[in-house]
């Protein structure tokens, strides 16, 4: 666990975590991350090809956060995500076919075509929904955590949001409430350096967003979000704490949005220097290197995984392309429950 900073004035779960993951689990993490990467690469191309309407917010470069966090969760646990949530959903177990169909607006999509990329929901996998409103999911996640606590379900909620979302009022209200009531929730702030075209320093004065935990008397930590093991270790400790009734925690994962805010964004605001710097920290490459390094596995093993991913993604695309579009006369279906 690379600790990059820590909530000022807050206690922290900084005690050495059981950071050692079995090779099997590391391979699983690789599979998850590579799936996210490939799924999004393909989706971006489908957008260019006009097969996905509107736009996409790709999380390429941020895969270690999604994978590391969800690795620490049980299937029954819940997540709430944001507009850049493909990775979180994949890591939590969404069906690739149904998600790809949703991106294309198909009737067999996760949301029956009504939501699209920004609204993926799959309650069966504990995915309570992505969100097109920046910060909109944070109070919702706290509400879900309240239900888990009140009903003593033993579940944990993870709320994913961005550095930009941290400045929304609802984030403050929700964190205050969660800490006050000691709810079983982890706030995972995915700091990818930008909110749309605005870099962090232009929207926030604090450097480590985890210091905000102190405002609620809640522990906070900043971790290297491109190091999947570091992410996992931080979250695993926080999950144990929360499940034991210890209350919420804010974990900032420092990472980088490799692509534009939306697909097609010309990204004039990024410097070549920062792009190069973060390229060296590509989470997938880092994991690959460590897996295949001295004493590691043969590169061929990863190749095999990559092939499986390739066909799973292809299958998802084939399914989605073949899937029917919703019928125009169903425009009024699902406005109300059971209707």
């Amino acid at each position: 666990m690379t600790k990059m900073g820590e909530g000022q004035g807050t206690s922290s779960t900084g005690s050495a975590p059981p950071g050692q993951l079995s090779r099997q689990r590391l391979l699983h993490l690789y599979r998850v991350m590579a799936t996210i990467r490939r799924f999004e690469e393909v989706a971006c191309q489908l957008l260019v090809d006009g097969k996905i309407p509107a736009t996409l917010h790709a999380s390429i470069g941020q895969e270690a956060v999604a994978a590391g966090v969800c690795e620490a969760l049980e299937p029954a646990d819940l997540i709430v995500t944001n507009h850049r949530g493909h990775g979180h959903c994949i890591a939590k177990g969404v069906d690739l076919k149904a998600m790809m169909a949703e991106l294309m607006g198909k009737a067999s999509g996760t949301n029956r075509g009504r939501g699209g990329s920004m609204h993926i929901a799959d309650p069966a996998q504990g995915i309570l929904g992505a969100n097109g409103i920046v910060g909109g999911g944070i109070p919702i996640a706290v509400g879900a955590a309240y239900a888990c606590r009140a009903r003593e379900s033993g579940q944990i909620v993870v709320c994913f949001f961005g550095d930009g979302a941290a400045n929304e009022g609802g984030c403050h209200e929700a964190m205050n409430l969660a800490s006050l009531w000691e709810l079983p929730i982890l706030f995972v702030c995915e700091n990818n350096q930008y909110a749309e075209m605005t870099p962090q320093r232009v929207h926030t004065r604090v450097k480590d967003l985890s210091v905000r935990a102190g405002a609620y008397d809640m522990p906070g930590a900043s971790v290297d979000g491109n190091d999947v093991v570091a992410v996992y270790a931080a979250v695993e400790a926080a999950v144990r704490r929360a499940r034991a009734g210890g209350g919420p925690m804010l974990i900032e994962c420092k990472t980088f949005r490799v692509r534009g805010h939306f697909e097609g964004d010309p990204q004039r605001y990024k410097t070549a220097e920062e792009v190069a710097r973060w390229k060296e920290k590509d989470p997938l490459t880092l994991l690959k290197t460590s897996l295949t390094g001295p004493g590691g596995i043969p590169a061929g093993e990863l190749e095999a995984i990559q092939q499986e991913i390739e066909s799973a993604v292809r299958e998802a695309v084939a399914f989605a392309e073949a899937a029917p579009l919703p019928s125009p006369d169903e425009v009024l279906t699902h406005v109300y429950a059971g209707a």
């Binding site: 996760t110 949301n111 909109g136 309240y146 239900a147 209200e173 409430l177 699902h334 406005v335």
Partner: protein
């Protein structure tokens, strides 16, 4: 039948629904320990314990979000936004989240949420504690909106709201808070989406809701003394509107007055008038008349506030005008 004050009927409905279904919970500012800013949740904390009855910080967005999340995770939350004016602070959660989650998930998420709120109109509460913003909520597909006019209706509609699988906003009128009348004991619900003829009549229809209903009834009574028979249609539910009931009444009386405390332009009266102009124009023997507040924020000073809200006398005058009387 025993009589209850309006707030006691609300309290009873909450008690009964929480006892009936342990997924029902209550949260809001001052609702637990203090028993509600106006007493509606008295006794609930003691009965149902600290995890089902929660005092919240002053955080309207989080309160509404709490309802959304709790509903998604299996509860049937009732939350309070103290005054309808404060709904402004919760609009994202109410409109972009609660109202849309079912649709935008293709029906995979469901939100059995009740949002209770008070309209403070008519009590010199000033511009930020008196607004009638119901038309906004009615313009949002995915929400339902009810507004009781009597203690019994308050009980029956609130119980139905709690049992509904969708987000329902229940607006109570502060000016009816201590009004008292018979309320059925125990199981008693009123269907959402159905209006009630609170007084039958043949000469003109007055459509009203909430605290405007007693004023409409007062006007009808005075007009009856002059031989004019007014039908008072209490909408009870503003969304979905009971279009059939409105059309049926207008088909009978051929004259329509809509009365509300909200400012006239773009208020709910507009929708009712428009519906008639669109679907039953031929039924009208006279222009439609809206009796509503002028296009101004709600003033504090008593003479201004008195001039602001429509009174029974204005409803009376409107009916007479339509009858050429």
């Amino acid at each position: 039948m025993r009589e209850l004050k309006y707030w006691q009927a609300v309290n009873e409905a909450l008690f009964e629904e929480m006892a009936r279904d342990d997924r029902v919970c209550l949260a809001g500012e001052d609702v637990a320990e203090p028993g509600g800013p106006f007493g509606a949740s008295r006794g609930l904390l003691d009965k149902f314990g600290p995890w089902r009855v929660k005092d919240t910080p002053i955080s309207e967005a989080a309160i509404a979000g709490l309802a959304v999340g709790a509903a998604l995770a299996g509860m049937r939350p009732v939350v309070e936004i103290m005054f309808l004016d404060f709904m402004c602070l919760a609009m994202d959660q109410v409109v972009n989240q609660a109202a849309k989650a079912c649709y935008m998930s293709g029906g995979r998420l469901q939100l059995p949420i009740t949002i209770r709120t008070l309209c403070g109109a008519g009590r010199n509460n000033g511009p930020q504690h008196s607004q009638s913003l119901e038309a906004w909520l009615c313009h949002v597909p995915g929400l339902k909106v009810v507004w009781p006019s009597t203690p019994a209706d308050a009980k029956g509609l609130l119980k139905s709201a709690v049992r509904d699988e969708n987000p329902v906003v229940v607006i109570d009128s502060l000016s009816l808070w201590t009004s008292k009348s018979p309320v059925p004991e125990g199981e008693f619900t009123i269907p959402i989406g159905k209006a009630e003829v609170k007084r039958p009549g043949s000469d003109a229809t007055v459509v009203a809701v909430g605290s405007m209903v007693p004023r409409a009834l007062a006007a009808a009574q005075r007009l009856a003394a002059e031989g004019i028979q007014v039908e008072v249609l209490d909408l009870r539910t503003l969304s979905p509107l009971d279009r059939e009931a409105i059309l049926a009444s207008v088909a009978k009386t051929h004259r329509l007055v809509i009365a509300h405390d909200a400012v006239k332009p773009f208020g709910f009266g507009a929708e009712i008038a428009a519906m008639i102009a669109e679907e039953a124009l031929e039924e009208l023997d006279a222009r439609v008349k809206r009796v509503a507040a002028p296009y101004a924020p709600v003033p504090f000073s008593p003479p201004l506030e008195g001039a602001y809200y429509p009174q029974a006398s204005q409803i009376e005058a409107a009916v007479k005008m339509l009858l050429g009387a």
